[in-house]
C-alpha cells in the first residue's frame, strides 16, 4: 500500500503547517493586549469547549447496551453489573462512574450521538486521531478543523485557547494557531531582562515560518497574560482534567473573548484491566464536567456554552483475557449544554452485526457532528471548514 509522505503519526507530532509570517508581522503587542482587555465577549455569543479523550475510550462501557445478551457474553470479564449502571432507557445505561452526566441527561442537557466514526475506521490511534482533529480522511491535510476556523477570523491571540503547553493539532491553522494556557496560570518573565523580552516577539517579513511562529507565541503570551492573568488568581485543585476545566470556567465567567477551548484527558487505551482504569478516568471526567457546569451556571454564560466530548475510537466488542479491549471503531460523542436538545441521536450500532474485525458499524459520520457545532455554535458553514461536506447534525 501507498505510504503518504506525511503519515498520520506525523500529523499529530507535526502541527507545523502554520505559515503565518505575513499576517502576524502586522501585529503589535500593544494592539493585541488592548484588544483583549477592551473587547470582552459580547453577551450571548456561543462558546465551544472541546474535550479530547486520548487513547480510545470504550464507548460500550460508557453508554452500555446492558440488556443485550451479546454485551454480557462477549465481555464476560468486563461487563458492568447492575450496581455499576445507571439505566436511562429500557436498553441503555450510563456507566455509574458518570453520575453528573447522567443527571444532566435527565435534565435534557446531554445529546448522545451514537455510533460515531467515519468510513473504514482506522484502528491506529494516530491515524484516527489525526482524522478526527483534521476533520479530513486525507493524510495530506495538515491543518486542524478549529485551526481552519481560526484562519477565517481576524487574528486575535484569544480566539481559541488550549489548556496545556503543547499545541493540539486540531487548533493549528494555515495562518493562525490557538494560544495555550497552563493550569498553573500565566507567568510573565520577571527581572531586568524582562523589559527587553517583548522585543523578541516582533516578527519581520524575512522570518522563516518557525521563527515567525515562535515570535508570535511570545507576543501572544503577553496578550494572554494581560487578559487572563488578573482572572487566574487562585490555583485550581482536584484531578488534572478538573483543573483544566476550572481554568476554562473561570475564564469564560471572566468574559474573555474566546470562542473555542480545548482540554484533554489521556490514558484511555485500556488493553488490560479496563474496568478499574476506565471507571477511574470517567469518574475524573464526570466530576470535572459536573463542577464545570455548576461554575458556568453561576455566571452569565450558562446558556452560551456547549461542550463536546470525543475520542479517536471506541474499542473491540469482545474483551480479551487480560480484562481489556483492543482498538475498535465507532463510539458515542457527548454534547452537553443548557442550549442542547438532550436525547439520543443516530442509531446504536447492533452488537449482532459487526465488521470483519469484530468491531461496531458506523452509524453517524463525525463530520456531521462537527457540522452542527460549526453552524450552531461558531456560526460558520460546515463546507467552509470541511470542503465538500454539506450535511450537519444539529443538537442545539
Amino acid at each position: 500500500m501507498n505510504t503518504c509522505e506525511f503519515d498520520r503519526r506525523r500529523f499529530l507530532q507535526w502541527t507545523g503547517a502554520g505559515l503565518f509570517a505575513t499576517l502576524s508581522a502586522q501585529l503589535s503587542l500593544e494592539s493585541l493586549a488592548s484588544a483583549a482587555s477592551a473587547s470582552p465577549l459580547a453577551s450571548n455569543t456561543p462558546i465551544l469547549v472541546i474535550v479530547t479523550l486520548y487513547g480510545g475510550n470504550d464507548g460500550l462501557n460508557t453508554v452500555v447496551p446492558f440488556t443485550d445478551p451479546t454485551y454480557q457474553s462477549a465481555r464476560s470479564n468486563i461487563a458492568l453489573s447492575s450496581s455499576q449502571l445507571l439505566p436511562f432507557t429500557s436498553t441503555l445505561a450510563f456507566n455509574a462512574s458518570i453520575p453528573n452526566i447522567s443527571a444532566l441527561y435527565a435534565q435534557n442537557k446531554v445529546a448522545i450521538v451514537q455510533g460515531v466514526s467515519y468510513p473504514e475506521p482506522s484502528l491506529s490511534h494516530f491515524s484516527s486521531m489525526a482524522i478526527w482533529q483534521s476533520a479530513s480522511l486525507s493524510a495530506e491535510v495538515s491543518t486542524g478543523w478549529i485551526g481552519r476556523w481560526l484562519d477565517l477570523q481576524p487574528h486575535n491571540a484569544l480566539n481559541a485557547i488550549g489548556i496545556g503547553s503543547t499545541l493540539p493539532p486540531l487548533m493549528v491553522g494555515e495562518k493562525s494557531v490557538a494560544s495555550m494556557v497552563d493550569i498553573g496560570g500565566v507567568q510573565l518573565p520577571w527581572g531586568q531582562a524582562a523589559s527587553q523580552i517583548p522585543k523578541l516577539g516582533r516578527t519581520s517579513s524575512s522570518d522563516i515560518p518557525f521563527v515567525a511562529a515562535d515570535a508570535t507565541s511570545i507576543t501572544d503570551l503577553y496578550a494572554t497574560a494581560q487578559a487572563l492573568g488578573p482572572l487566574l488568581t487562585s490555583s485550581p485543585t482536584g484531578s488534572n482534567i478538573n483543573q483544566q476545566l476550572a481554568v476554562v470556567s473561570t475564564l469564560i465567567n471572566g468574559n474573555v473573548p474566546t470562542r473555542v477551548w480545548e482540554v484533554n484527558l489521556s490514558s484511555l487505551d485500556t488493553h488490560v484491566s479496563e474496568v478499574g482504569v476506565q471507571n477511574e478516568l470517567l469518574a475524573e471526567l464526570d466530576g470535572a464536567i459536573g463542577a464545570f457546569m455548576t461554575a458556568i451556571s453561576a455566571g452569565s454564560r450558562s446558556n452560551d456554552v456547549t461542550v463536546m466530548i470525543y475520542s479517536e475510537f471506541g474499542r473491540r466488542v469482545m474483551s480479551n483475557a487480560g480484562g481489556g479491549t483492543d482498538h475498535g471503531t465507532s463510539a458515542p460523542v457527548f454534547i452537553i449544554g443548557n442550549g442542547v436538545k438532550g436525547g439520543l441521536y443516530g442509531d446504536q450500532p447492533p452488537l449482532s452485526s459487526l465488521d470483519e474485525n469484530g468491531n461496531l458499524q458506523v452509524t453517524t459520520d463525525f463530520r456531521n457532528v462537527y457540522g452542527g457545532l460549526l453552524e450552531g455554535v461558531l456560526g460558520t458553514p460546515v463546507k467552509d471548514i470541511i470542503p465538500s461536506w454539506n450535511t450537519s447534525l444539529s443538537v442545539l
Binding site: 494516530f126 527581572g191 523578541l200 487480560g322 474485525n357
Partner: protein
C-alpha cells in the same frame, strides 16, 4: 582575538553558517564555546566528519558513573511498613536516572551516541508513567544506547523482548487463548514498517507470535515459556512460518517498508517535516546499518536547503544551552528543572504516548516560552558567560558565534543591545530568542 576569528567573519558565507549550525545542533546537541567558529574555519565537510565521531572512549563522560539502581522488588501493599521507603526510593531513582541522562547529553565530548539514543527513545517511546521502575527503564536505555548506531535488525530483535516495552504495551497480558494486540500493532505501525503497510489480520497473527513472554516488572527481565507460546504456523505479511518475537522482528525489518519507514523517520526528526528525503538515502540503509544511514544523512546536501528548519524540542534546547554555558544539568535545582521540563511536556523516560514526542510548532506556545524563561533563570545560577567578555560593540556577534546561531534578526540584536550592561540578561535573551529556539 585569535586571527582566525577575523578570517572566519570575513570569509564565511551565511549558507555555511546555516549548514554548520544545523549539523552541530541536530547531531551534537549544539556547540561548546569556540566550537562553532572552529567548525566554520575548517569547512562543512570537516564538520560533517566531526559531528559523526563516536565509538571511541569519551573523556567527557569519565566523571559520570552509571547509576547503580537497586532492584526494588514488588510494589508493597498500601499499608505495609516499607511502603513510603519504597516510593521514596523509586522516585529518587527516577530523578537520578533522568539527571544522569541529561548529564551525559551535556557532557559528552562525542555526543552523537547520546543524540541517537535520544532519537531512539522517542522512536520506541516507552514511559515511566506505566513501567514505574527506573531499573527497568535504565535497562531499555542501555539497549537503545548499545544499538544506537549499530544494526537496526539487532536493535529490533533486542527491543521486542525488552521488559519495559513489553510491560508498557501489555504483552504481559497477551495470552495464547486470547491475544492482546497492543505490542503487535505498535511494533508494526510505529517501530518497524509504518501505518497502512499491514492488515488487521497481520496484527492478530503477530500478537500470537508474541505470546509466551513475561516480564518481571521490577527489573525488566523477560522470560520465555514455550508452553504459553503459539507454536503453529502463522501468516504475517503473506509469509507463513512458525514465529517467535525475534523472528517476527526479523521479518518486519527485512521488508522494503522498513527501509522507507526508518529513513523517513530519521529525515523527519533530523532534517525536516516539510521536505522529502532523496530516494537514494533509503539505499544507504539497505543493510539496516544505522550508522550508514546517519552518515549519509549528515553528508547529504539537505543542510543547504533553506526549507529544512526544525524546532528544537525542550530537551534539545536545554542541552544546547548547557553545553554552551558549561552547565552540568544535575547541578541545577533538580525539582525546579524537572518541573519546568514536565510543564514543557518533555521529561526523558516519560513521553506522552507510544507515538513519541510532539514535533515542530507544537512546541512553540506561550506556555513553553514561560518555562524556557524559568529554565534560563536556573541556568544563569551556574552559567559560564566568559565567551561574551568582549567589548560591548562586539558582544552581539560574539554571542552568535558562541551559541552557533547563523545570524541574529534585527529584533533580537536590538533586544540584546538593550541589555549589554548585564551579561546574564544578555545571555538570557539570546537563549530565549526565536533564532535559538529554532534550528533555522
Amino acid at each position: 582575538m585569535p586571527r582566525y576569528i577575523t578570517w572566519v567573519r570575513a570569509h564565511i558565507s551565511t549558507a555555511q553558517r546555516v549548514a554548520t549550525s544545523r549539523l552541530v545542533h541536530r547531531f551534537n546537541f549544539g556547540p561548546r564555546p569556540g566550537q562553532y567558529l572552529e567548525m566554520l574555519q575548517r569547512g562543512v565537510e570537516a564538520t560533517q566528519t566531526s559531528v559523526l565521531e563516536h565509538g571511541v572512549a569519551d573523556p567527557g563522560l569519565n566523571s559520570l558513573p552509571t547509576p547503580s539502581l537497586p532492584n526494588l522488588g514488588p510494589i508493597p501493599a498500601p499499608n505495609a511498613s516499607n511502603v513510603s521507603t519504597f516510593w521514596n526510593t523509586l522516585y529518587a531513582n527516577q530523578s537520578e536516572l533522568v539527571l544522569w541522562w541529561l548529564d551525559r547529553m551535556a557532557l559528552a565530548d562525542y555526543p552523537l551516541t547520546e543524540r541517537m539514543t535520544w532519537f531512539w527513545h522517542g522512536h520506541w517511546a516507552t514511559s515511566n508513567s506505566k513501567v514505574f521502575y527506573p531499573l527497568t527503564m535504565q535497562r531499555q536505555n542501555n539497549t537503545l544506547r548499545r544499538y544506537a548506531l549499530a544494526n537496526f535488525g539487532d536493535m529490533a530483535r533486542a527491543m521486542v523482548v525488552d521488559g519495559a516495552l513489553n510491560y508498557w504495551l501489555d504483552n504481559e497480558d497477551n495470552y495464547l487463548s486470547s491475544p492482546n494486540e497492543n505490542l503487535a500493532r505498535e511494533l508494526m505501525e510505529l517501530m518497524t514498517i509504518g501505518v497502512n503497510n499491514f492488515t488487521q489480520r497481520d496484527v492478530t497473527a503477530a500478537a500470537r507470535a508474541l505470546t509466551g513472554y513475561s516480564t518481571y516488572q521490577p527489573t525488566g527481565a523477560v522470560t520465555f515459556d514455550a508452553q504459553q507460546h503459539y507454536s503453529k504456523p502463522l501468516t504475517i505479511l503473506d509469509k507463513t512460518a512458525r514465529y517467535d518475537a525475534q523472528s517476527l522482528a526479523s521479518l518486519l525489518v527485512s521488508t522494503d517498508f522498513n527501509a522507507k519507514f526508518i529513513t523517513d523517520r530519521m529525515w523527519f526528526r533530523f532534517v525536516s517535516g516539510t521536505t522529502k528525503p532523496p530516494p537514494a538515502l533509503e539505499g544507504s540503509f539497505a543493510r539496516r546499518d544505522i550508522y550508514a544511514l546517519v552518515d549519509s544523512l549528515a553528508r547529504s546536501s539537505a543542510w543547504n536547503d533553506p526549507a529544512n528548519s526544525l524546532v528544537k524540542s525542550p530537551v534539545e534546547w536545554f542541552i544546547g544551552a548547557c553545553r554552551a554555558t558549561k552547565v552540568r544539568p544535575s547541578t541545577l535545582t533538580a525539582n525546579a528543572l524537572q518541573w519546568c521540563l514536565e510543564q514543557m511536556g518533555q521529561v526523558p523516560f516519560n513521553p506522552p504516548n507510544v507515538g513519541g514526542w510532539p514535533y515542530g510548532q507544537a512546541w512553540l506556545s506561550g506556555v513553553a516560552f514561560q518555562y524556557r524563561f524559568e529554565v534560563t533563570e536556573l541556568l544563569m545560577t551556574k552559567a559560564d558567560l566568559s565567551p561574551i567578555s568582549v567589548p560591548k560593540s562586539k558582544m552581539v556577534q560574539a554571542c552568535a558565534d558562541w551559541l552557533g546561531v547563523p545570524e541574529w534578526s534585527r529584533r533580537t540584536a536590538n533586544a540584546l543591545d538593550g541589555v549589554s550592561d548585564n551579561p546574564s540578561d544578555f545571555v538570557t535573551l539570546a537563549l530565549l530568542s526565536p533564532e535559538y529556539a529554532v534550528s533555522v
